[in-house]
Symmetry: C2
DNA sequence: TTACATTGTGAATTATAGTTCATTATATGA
DNA sequence: TCATATAATGAACTATAATTCACAATGTAA
């Protein structure tokens, strides 16, 4: 059934354990302040063990961001794919991104400390791999905006790429304060997608 | 005329030199990858000299961010202050922020690697001081949004703070790609304020 | 049970970069 | 010009954390 022999499966499991622990620690302390010992402790392994699964700290970080970003993009694309019409696709984008980050807070912190979907690489941490993915995804979103323009939903004079960036920035602008207030409030992030969609499409001004 | 004795003025000058050099280096390499030697070289001083002006690397970074953020906020507030009516104030905010960052690209990179005006502190670098300022500024912007609501310009049902964040995120979303394409294009950042204002007020959808 | 292979361990090693400080250079003012 | 104070220097010192590796534990299979 499972294509992987047990040994390999176990190995993968442990690898995933380490990645999960690393996500925790990186989210809490940031890349540079997180030590391999921190991660080892969190993962309940010895430092040396981490090195059996990842070449070095950078490789660990890259694997982490790459895999999680890949997962995010895959999920969002899937939801967009099954939505009919550009408007529904835009709605799906916002909702699924919110849903993903609501389930992956720790990763969110790492992700946005990298610049997030605007694809802004902070020169402080390793990135590369995932940057590619983000760029391609942005092109994909631009394509949807273009389609929305063809469907006469979005103003034709707007630059699709710039508009895609704009939507990304708007989404981020809602998630960040939400995370900060999280300990206090209990409002769901998904509940905020309406706010973003309306602001994006209709603006904030009284008609 | 000048309230400072020459000695003190000179000292200040040299301090400013160092800050300028540090801005360059931090912008290029990020906080952690920038070494004190890098900064010294850029400033054309010996490492030890830096320590005559700043207690340590962190203090240097904090002074830098604190002063620049203070300057940004001062400038924006001033422009807003002389504008009449909430709409004009919002326009002033966008335009002056764009103007400031167009003049301070290096600082921009540092600033947004800190999370920018959404006031997102990345746990990786020192912040504190300036965070306070940013928070207070956000309150100030929220106040303007509130005023706009009273003037029946902005929809009353929107949360002012959230809307302030939104505007901040929108601004950022335009600056980031602009910076990346900078080497190629020559389009002025200020020229993009119209795009942001229209998107913020009226949205991107066809009426 | 024993031999072998795989996996885990964490103290010791190494590399790097922040910081100090004894020394040198420069400015000041008598 | 000389004496003193102020400022600059950069090699040496330290601290920290990534990485290694000799050894131990555990799993496997005959």
């Amino acid at each position: 059934m499972n294509p992987l022999p047990r040994k390999a499966r176990d190995k993968l499991l442990r690898r995933t354990d380490i990645l999960r622990a690393a996500t925790r620690v990186f989210a809490e302390k940031g890349y540079h302040n997180a030590t391999m010992s921190d991660i080892a402790k969190q993962a309940e392994y010895a430092v040396g063990t981490i090195y059996l699964y990842f070449k070095d700290k950078q490789a660990l970080y890259l694997a982490l961001t790459d895999e999680k970003i890949g997962e995010l993009i895959r999920r969002v694309k899937e939801k967009i794919g099954i939505s009919q019409g550009a408007l529904a696709k835009i709605r799906a984008l916002v909702e699924e991104e919110f849903a993903y980050f609501e389930e992956n807070e720790d990763f969110f912190r790492i992700y946005f400390s990298e610049g997030g979907l605007d694809g802004w690489a902070i020169k402080d941490k390793p990135s590369r791999e995932s940057l590619e993915k983000i760029m391609k995804f942005l092109d994909y979103i631009s394509g949807i905006i273009k389609k929305a323009q063809e469907e006469n939903i979005i103003k034709k004079e707007l630059d699709p790429k710039r508009t895609a960036h704009l939507l990304g920035g708007m989404i981020k602008s809602v998630i960040i304060p939400w995370l900060k207030e999280k300990p206090l409030k209990t409002e769901s992030l998904k509940g905020l997608s309406g706010f973003i969609l309306d602001a994006f499409l209709n603006g904030t001004a009284v008609k």
